[in-house]
Structure formats: C-alpha cells, structure tokens
Amino acid sequence: MLSRVANALYWMVRYVERADNLARLIDVNQQQLLDSERLDSDRLRGFWQPIILSTGDEETFSPLYGEAGSTEVIRFLTDDPRNPNSITSCIALARENARTVRDQLSDELWEELNALYLFTRSEEANRLIAADPTRYYENIRRSAVTFLGIASSTTSRDEDWDFMELGRHLERADKTTRFLDVASYLPGGADDAQSAALHWSAILRSCGALGAFRAFERTITARGVVDFLVFSKNFPRSVRFCIEIVDASLHRISGTPRGTFCNDAERETGRLLADLDFGVTDDAFARGLHEYLDALQGRFNRIGEAVFESYVLMPERIQVCPAAEFRSSSALAAWQMQHQQQQ
C-alpha cells in the first residue's frame, strides 16, 4: 500500500480516537462538577486546570484565555478552532485525512465521518454545547463508536486495518495515561479520601471502565485504578492491552515473528510490552505516578516516530525528495493544486 495512504489511515483513526477520548473526559468531569458543593470561580479553575495541563494544551490555552472559567475551558477543549486538539479540530483533521484516502474507505465509513463532521459544524451542535452538553458529547462518542464499528465490519484485515489498529491503540494508550495523570495536577494532591474516591471513579468513567473495574475489585483506590488501567491484560483501554495490539499489528505489517524485531518501531514496542508484561503497580508509585506516566507517553511518541520513519519516510530507500505530507501541506502546493485547470 502507498506510504501516504498508510499514514493518512493511521492519522484518521488517531484523530477520531482523540476526539472520542476528549468527549469522554470533558463529559465525565462536567458531571463530576455537579456533585461538587462549592462552585466559586477559583475552585472551578482549580478543577479544570489539571485537565488542560494533562491534555498538553496549556501553551495554546493561556494566551487565548488568561483568567478562564469553566465555560471558556470547555469551549476551548470542545469547539475552539484555534485549539488544534479540540474535539471539532480533531474531527476536521480526521476527515481531512479521510478525504485524501477516500478511495480506500467504504462508503459507509466515509459517510459516518462526514456526517460527524457536518454535525460538529451545525447550528444544532452549537446549541447543544450550550444547552445540553451531555447530549453533545454523547453524539460525538456514539458517532466515534459507530465509526469504529463500521471500520471493523467493512475493512479487510490487511495492511489498511493494521495501520488503523496501530493508530487507534497508540492514541488510546496515550489518552489513558493522560486521564490518570489528571490526579498529579490536582492542587495539594487528592488527599481527602472522599474527593479522591470521586476523582478516581471519574477517571474510570472517562475510560468507560467503571463497570469492568467493579467486577474486578470492589473498592476504588488510586493503586487499584492504576493497576487496572495500566496493567490489565483484558481491559481494552488499558495501556498494556493497547500496546499488545500495537505490537501485534506491527508484526503483521512486517511479517516478522513476534518477540523479534526488524525495525525501530518493533524494537521500542517490544521493550515497552515486556516492561508492562513484567511490571507491577509498585514500580509506578515508587517512581512517582506523574514521572512514570510521563515516561510512558515519551515511549509512545518514540513508537509513533519510528513507525513514520520505517513506513512513510523510508530514508534508507529514498533520498530523492521529501515525503508527501511535507510537500502537500505547504501554501505553494495548495495554491498549485487549486490552480490546476480542470477542463
């Protein structure tokens, strides 16, 4: 398959997954806020700040909003076009990637993503964000899940699928660690037991994991949640589960037996998977949860870069010209594309 196509499929799915996760995170936290007793603006800021920090968007946020309250934060994360990681930006980017590989997608898959995009740009969406945010986030989540379902039932299990799986699970692993990391930014740590329990159950709910967790352990504790969301072998949003799929997808693409490697992406993934397979929750807390999660995120990024190097850039094979995405994103390229006379 074309390298550019592999790259676009990978990003299309990553962006949908990102939007889905953000919708979960915002919705759950907004609901959690309703349980909170005192709602003065300082407290609200204190509440949302960690979420901004954990999604890694503070640099974009601060200059735009300064002294922001709840509403501003939510709009920033939800439909601010200036935030490249807002839900609507992610969906627009997913669609943009889909457009460039339209011929590879089933009609149903394209239509679902396009319909989601049209929804995010509609008056109705605008109204819902203000009046009934839960409905809005539910629409996003449902559509993302439908997208996933259509993809899974209309995509052949070949390289197309492997690159999509790769993108989805790398993104999912990353977002799970970021949800967990929200705790690290809470002012004064989550010390009082009641708000800690509330907080950790919110994280579980963001990951759709509350039910699954309860089946596994009755009391919600920091240690229990981290154990479940990082090391569970069976829960589909746990880091270990995701990296297992990343590893399997990479080896299906290259044809190399698992447990061995033929490129940096496989080597990085294999080492990370071994660490997760043989790791325990104590390691995370011994190192400091934030540092531990941060290190994981760094390793996900290295895997992503290595995938790009191995399958898209291919520097060892081609020295002639830079990869397509760099070229086609330039303003000159866009101009020339537009001015190709179509008779």
Binding site: L2, R4, S328, A334, Q338, Q341, Q343
Partner: protein, 478 residues
C-alpha cells in the same frame, strides 16, 4: 402533470416540448411518470437527492473562502432525454472527431504533413500555447494522444447539434455523470421503470481497459495509477471516485519517484513499478525538471521515463494544441484531410481574430458576438457581447487588437432549453452536453454524457464555477 402546467417552452429549442407546446414523442412516457408525483413528494425526493450528494461529500471547494466552505454541485432531478437515433448520430460524429484529432496530433508531432500541405497555417501551430515542440518525434503507445476527450455539444434554435469545443487535456466531470444517475435512481426509483434508459455503468471499466491497452509492459498485468494534484483541487472528489471505481491507486506527485527512467510508487513495502498514469495534472505542472520549475505537484524525471517509453500517460503530453480554440476552427478540415469524410457534427461558425477579414468583422460586431481566449476554459476569459457592459467590450477590443492569435469569436447560439425546477416552478433553462469519449483499443462513448444547466434565468453559461448545475442524461434504448 401539475408541475408542468403553464410551462413555457419560449422561443428556444426545448428538449421536451415542441414549438406548439406539445410534448415530444420520446419524452411523453417520462412526462406521464412526473404526472404521478405530487409537488410535495417531488420536493421531498429532490431534497433527498441533495442530501445524498452532501453525505457522499460530492462537493467542490469554494476558493478564497477562509471557512473552507464546500458546496454541492446543484442537481436538477428532471432528466434530459435523448432518443436512440439522436444519440447514434452524436456517437458517429464524436467517434469521427476523436479519430481525426488523434491523427492530427500524431502528424503534428511527427511529419507535419498537414502543415506542409497548407491545410493549417504553420504559424497557428507554432504559436499555440500548449504545443510542445520538445516532444516531436516521440512515439506514444498505439499512436493515441487524446485517450479521454470531453467535447462540449450544444443545440441551436434549429435543433441541430454543434461542437462548441474539444477538451483534450484533462476533461473533468465524468464522476458527476455517474453520481447523477446514482442520485436520481435513489431519489426517484419509479421514474426508471420500463423506460429503457441505457446504463452508464461501463465508464470506469472502459477507462481501465483503455489504460491497460496503452501499457508499455506486455509481459504482465500493468500497474495503473491516477495522478492527482491533491485534495485541494476542485476535482479531487472525482479523482478519488474514478480511482476507486477502477480499483487503482490514487497518487500525488510525492508518492512517485523516478529511478533510472522507470517510475515507482512508494509503498509500505518499498518501491513498486508503475506502468500507466492517468494524470489529472496539466503538462505545465507534471515534471518540474522539464516544465514549470516551481511545481511541487509533479514528479521530477517523469518526462525522461515517458520519452524512454517506460511509462504511458493518459492523456499524452502536448494534446493541448488540439483544444486551442483557434485549432478547433480547423477540425472539420482535419476530418476531410485525414479521413476523406464529411464532418458529421459541425462546428459553431467561428471567426479568427488573426485573419484580417475576420478581425474586421469581429471588431465591428463585438456587442453581438461571444469572444473567447484561445486557451481558457471553465467560462473564464470570455466576453458575452449581448450582455456585456461598454467597458468590458472595450477591454476585450484592446486585448484582441494586442494579441489577435489568442482570440476567436462566435455568434451567440441560443442553447436549447430543458424543463428545470427553479424555486417553485418548472421553467426552461439553457443546457449543453458533455459526452466522454474514450479512445483505447476502440472508441467507447458512455451513452449520453453530462448535461450541464445554466440555473440563472436566461444565462447561457453552464459552468459550475459560474452558477451552473447538472442533470441526469437519458439515452433511450428505442
């Protein structure tokens, strides 16, 4: 019948009704079908067809719009119907024309016999903007240059079809032809029952067969790709659509590399050789080594691979000389010169500004004429004399005098009209027809073509960039 009540065919040739207002025989069954649909139902179905286009993403980008607005190409659900005999006549005329155009291009890029025999003045060829002298003597597979031609046909007040222009570089619109049929079938399935409408499904297959036919590699199944300028191009939807229907890869310039005069695409498993490129990029941008140096859309070295015969291009390089509007003037002569036949389809009467007598006539009659730049398309670079302001006319007068080689003029042809739903009523709107002619092992023309309609009242400009829409085109079996 109620939607057609009070319909006025006007003083034009109407595709559905004759001058007395009686329905034309071949349209009668369709009109009866519409009689069974009430207006409310009609509107709901029409809205449905529009939703289909929007959901499929069959849209074009509005340039210079910061919001990145995408619009659908307006679709009118009342089909344009052609009788079987009418289409046979067009088919014969178009086949004759594409054969002659290809013989002409081969001649121009080899012996130039037609110039030596002074059928066409040498000056016109040598000054044609899209003539590529550097490709003289280069052989192309099967001696075919224009593999896909989109010739625009119009019908005058006398009911006679004329060829308005030949688009022999990268004609677009075929996907709309196919999607119009899909949309109409979905929204108005009942219309098709027992009507004997000829299918248009064969287009992608014919296109792919043609691409296979011109492959330089005979030993194995050729690898064909569609080369697009990219997703910001207005025809991008079409590129994806056709590539998918044919089951070939769609590539951008950056996906291809030339190594030792062979073309390859970059895949996740390394480089894969490419044999045939259906290119939707103009000559100017296709290879920065040979043509425009600043092109980032093309493939450096592609022209060397092409000259070496290692890759085939559809359409060939240099076909633009044949759709220069001055050269168009000579197509009837080409048909007689190369084929010894009378042209089946006439040209629109045309005046060449670089001929002294014609120039005098043009300058004396600007308010009555349509003036066109020789190498523009899409309705640009054009003066519609009767509706133009004094300033516009004077502006064109200056341009024509300064550069007569690049201008032609034609009388205004009042294009035929077809009933079209316009804001609550059925009204006559001017239309044209663009058939798509494929020239591979044999000439194949998908029945009908794309009917474009000028939605603005009294407008004669059907281009989508200027307020045009389209209709499904029916060719009847009997």
């Amino acid at each position: 019948m109620e939607m057609f009540e009070g319909y006025d065919p006007g003083r034009f040739y109407d595709e559905m009704f004759d001058a007395s207002g009686a329905v034309r025989g071949h349209c009668a069954p369709l009109l009866r079908k519409f009689a069974g649909i009430d207006q409310k139902d009609f509107l709901a179905r029409k809205a449905n067809s529009e939703l289909y286009f929007l959901r499929q993403g069959i849209t074009f980008n509005v340039y210079h719009d910061e919001q990145g607005t995408e619009r659908i190409f307006p679709f009118d659900p009342v089909p344009r119907v052609m009788a079987a005999a009418e289409w046979e006549h067009l088919e014969a005329g178009l086949s004759q024309r594409i054969v002659a155009l290809n013989l002409f291009l081969h001649d121009i890029y080899h012996d130039q016999q037609i110039l030596k025999d002074e059928v066409i003045p040498r000056f016109y060829i040598e000054q044609a903007k899209h003539y590529r002298p550097e490709f003289r003597g280069v052989d192309v597979p099967g001696d075919i240059y224009i593999h896909i031609c989109g010739s625009d046909l119009i019908r005058g007040a006398d009911g006679q079809y004329y060829v308005l222009e030949d688009n022999g570089r990268c004609p677009s619109g075929a996907s709309y032809l196919l999607e119009n049929r899909n949309a109409l079938k979905r929204a108005f399935p009942g219309l098709f029952d027992e009507m004997g409408v000829r299918s248009v499904d064969s287009y992608p297959r014919d296109l792919l067969n043609m691409l296979h036919h011109i492959s330089p590699r005979r030993d194995e199944s050729p690898v064909c790709v569609l080369l697009t300028p990219g997703c910001h191009n207005s025809a991008y939807f079409e590129h994806c659509y056709l590539a998918r229907e044919m089951g070939i890869d769609i590539v951008e310039g950056g996906d291809l590399v030339v190594v030792d005069n062979f073309v390859f695409m970059r895949t996740t498993r390394g480089l894969k050789r490419v044999d045939v490129i259906y290119r939707r990029i103009d000559d100017d941008f296709i290879d920065p080594v040979v043509f425009r140096k600043d092109s980032v859309l093309g493939v450096p070295g592609l022209m060397n691979a092409y000259r070496a015969g290692n890759v085939a291009l559809a359409n060939a390089v240099g076909t633009g000389v044949a759709d220069d509007k001055v050269i168009y003037y000579f197509v009837p002569q080409m048909i007689e010169y190369y084929l010894g036949q009378k042209p089946i389809l006439p040209n629109v009467p045309t005046y060449l500004a670089s001929e002294e007598a014609d120039l005098k006539f043009i300058l004396g009659h600007l308010p009555e004429l349509v003036v066109k730049a020789a190498n523009e398309s899409g309705g640009y670079g054009m003066l519609m004399g009767p509706s133009a302001s004094k300033e516009e006319i004077e502006k064109f007068r200056g341009r024509i005098i300064a550069d007569p080689r690049n201008y032609i003029a034609q009388p205004v042809i009042s294009l035929s009209r077809a009933p079209t739903w316009c804001d609550g009523a059925m009204e006559g709107r001017h239309i044209d027809l663009r058939p798509y002619i494929i020239y591979g092992e044999e000439v194949k023309i998908v029945p009908g073509g794309l009917t474009r309609v000028a939605l603005t009242k009294d407008s004669l400009v059907v281009n989508s960039s200027q307020g045009g829409g389209s209709k499904d085109t029916w060719v009847l079996r009997h």
